[in-house]
Amino acid sequence: MSGVPWQNRWDPLRELQREVGRLFDGLDGLPALRHLRPYPPINVHDEGEGYVLTAQLPGVCADEVELTITGETLTMRGERKRPEGVKDDSYRRQERLVGRWSRTITLPDRVDSTQVTASFSNGILIVRIPKAEGAKPRHITVATGG
């Protein structure tokens, strides 16, 4: 069938809003760049006795993350599901990523993989990984020569 689709509600303002939204997405959101960034973003700190890994995982529950460690390689994976019952055309703006993700990070020194602990705090995953005995910093007392 050709011609104007009369069955659709004619809503020029909505179309305009959508176009403006698209224009702004291109300017401030830079979604293309956002997708190039690794997800989730991870920070790793050295606390001396061990490493602390923090990952931004807002809206994710503890049972939705699978965490494994093999030697010094830590892998985390999970899925951020799209909200149920929300139709695609009801979105005016959609910037939060959904879908499956996984990240692998190799720690710079030997760790004790049996003592790893992980917790969630306000959408941030915190993993504490103690260093292996031989990798911990050790204070050496300098004896005075006599």
Partner: protein, 146 residues
């Protein structure tokens, strides 16, 4: 979930309607008075239309109720959150993909919002704001008499 249920109304999240500067000790102030320039990041948001109005969700990983400030003035909605680092200051960063500091975002809402019925909820680092449409902004069917 019943969005009009007052039990989800979170009294600890400061939602300010109308003009007014952030109170003493609020995230906005901390940012201005902080001796070190804190890093401000733009949180990704989703806005979708629900049956009664707009639903806004923002990813604010690490944010807590007491450090979150939401303001609606005229049609400008602004979100501010101050995030504390979960890692002690003494820890040495060895890998950094995100910065810990403040979140800030403001935008213009095109619809009229019923200011008295705004509800806010913060869960696992995700802010969910329900902005019910004001009665007079609701679309009304106009009968055409033949």
């Amino acid at each position: 979930m019943n969005v009009t249920n007052p039990s989800i109304r979170n009294p600890s999240i400061r939602v300010v309607v109308g003009p007014g500067a952030p109170e003493e000790g609020s995230p906005g102030r901390q940012q201005a008075e902080s001796p070190q320039p804190s890093r401000v990041s733009t949180p990704p948001i989703d806005i979708h239309e629900g049956p009664d109005g707009l639903i806004l969700e923002a990813d604010l990983p690490g944010a807590t109720d007491k450090d979150l400030f939401v303001q609606l003035e005229d049609n400008v909605l602004s979100l501010r959150a101050h995030v504390q680092s979960p890692v002690p200051q003494s820890a040495r960063p060895i890998h950094e993909e995100f910065s810990v500091g403040d979140f800030h975002r403001s935008f213009i809402l095109s619809d009229e919002v019923d200011r008295d019925r705004i509800t806010a909820e913060l869960k696992n680092g995700v802010l969910r704001l329900i902005l019910p449409r004001a009665d007079r902004a609701r679309s009304r069917r106009i009968e055409i008499r033949s």
